[in-house]
Assembly symmetry: C2
Homo-oligomer: 199 residues x 2
DNA sequence: TTAAATACTGACTGAGTACTCAGTTAGTAT
DNA sequence: ATACTAACTGAGTACTCAGTCAGTATTTAA
């Protein structure tokens, strides 16, 4: 791996677990095993390094989620929802550092003054919510999901699933026991009770 | 108001909107209109000031939520849920600064190494989730809410409502349009469809 | 009218910060 | 053999920060 990539990886981890202000470029350099100057050779300043992390996150997550849609087939929209929830949680543990970055305020504060940062964040959230929305729309077409506003319900489902992840990272409750309840709740909210042929 | 209280108020606001590391004691002093040393006279260090804020938040929120329960009567548990959601959002805008503090990582990081901080956080969350749980239990007794695990469902409802608040503070979506959907979703999840007399 | 306790002040300190820059090195083209 | 380049280095710079301290004002008690 190039030193540039190694710096990005170490910085992602430190920024995730310690936050922007508590992460010093000196520490990133030391852990990566490069000189401090090397970081500034590749990234002009701390903010650019942070943006590079968001950019790679956005690219990777779009890639992973579209691969998921390519490689899986779902018997119905309602069943797809459950697989999407499981996949989301899988990604959140696979990309633990970057999801933790999403749960910090650093990115949102930068987004207020930096349009590039705002664009990355929006792209990431759109990707995360899109996949729930797609499942709901699919379910509405095949009749397994009732007639609800797809985008807004996708955001609510997202909120619940993301809440699980946050409970876990905040270390206050054992979120694992909530998984089944969340899946069941989503089923209850979305499930169509009238026969599909009725519409 | 005493200078001590004034310092607490200003610090709460700054810590909420800028975060722990980005808030300097010098700025707190300047905005409050006291000398830097005055802060350290009342609070031994920055961490103690932070804990004092959490403590007052915990006390106030317990007070407000138990007042709500004292002063309101609810025709049924299911209807109580809707009022609780509205009240929660009311409190979140009333105590905007302190709820924003809850959405930052600062407190959770301190809680990892500081048992007092952990205790305050746990008390706050318990209070927030208790009121949802109480509504669900009430509804199960009067038959308006179905037989679901009360505590865990309370956490899920909390997750949705808190998600609304977070969307708002993160400034990414207009969360207002989601309110009705969240209330409707909660009703769908919890509502009892069998006649109360059947049990 | 003291004396003691409490409340407050702001200049100061030393550790830590992001970032710079003159210079080295390893590799490649001429 | 010479010239050139991108990657890399780490000591140095200017600055910010939490916390200290010696001293002053204000309140309380005898």
């Amino acid at each position: 791996m190039s030193k540039k990539d190694a710096i990005l990886l170490v910085a992602t981890h430190l920024l995730a677990i310690k936050g922007y202000k508590d992460t010093s470029m000196a520490e990133v350099a030391k852990i990566t095993g490069v000189a401090q100057g090397t970081i500034f050779y590749h990234y002009n300043n701390k903010e650019e390094l942070f943006l590079a992390i968001l950019k790679s996150f956005q690219e990777d997550i779009v890639e992973e989620f579209s691969r998921f849609r390519r490689e899986h087939n779902f018997p119905s929209g309602l069943e797809m929802i459950e697989d999407v929830i499981a996949f989301y949680l899988h990604m959140a543990s696979q990309m633990e550092d970057r999801f933790m970055l999403l749960h910090r305020h650093d990115a949102y504060e930068l987004a207020r003054v930096n349009p590039t940062c705002h664009a990355y964040l929006e792209a990431i959230y759109n990707c995360l919510i899109d996949i729930f929305e797609r499942a709901i729309s699919t379910g509405q077409e095949d009749g397994s999901i009732r007639n609800v506003p797809a985008r807004r319900m996708a955001m609510i489902v997202f909120t619940m699933v993301d809440g699980l992840v946050r409970f876990h990272t905040h270390n206050l409750y054992d979120a694992g026991v909530l998984y089944e309840d969340v899946v069941q709740s989503c089923r209850t909210i979305l499930q169509n009770h009238v026969a599909p042929s009725r519409s």
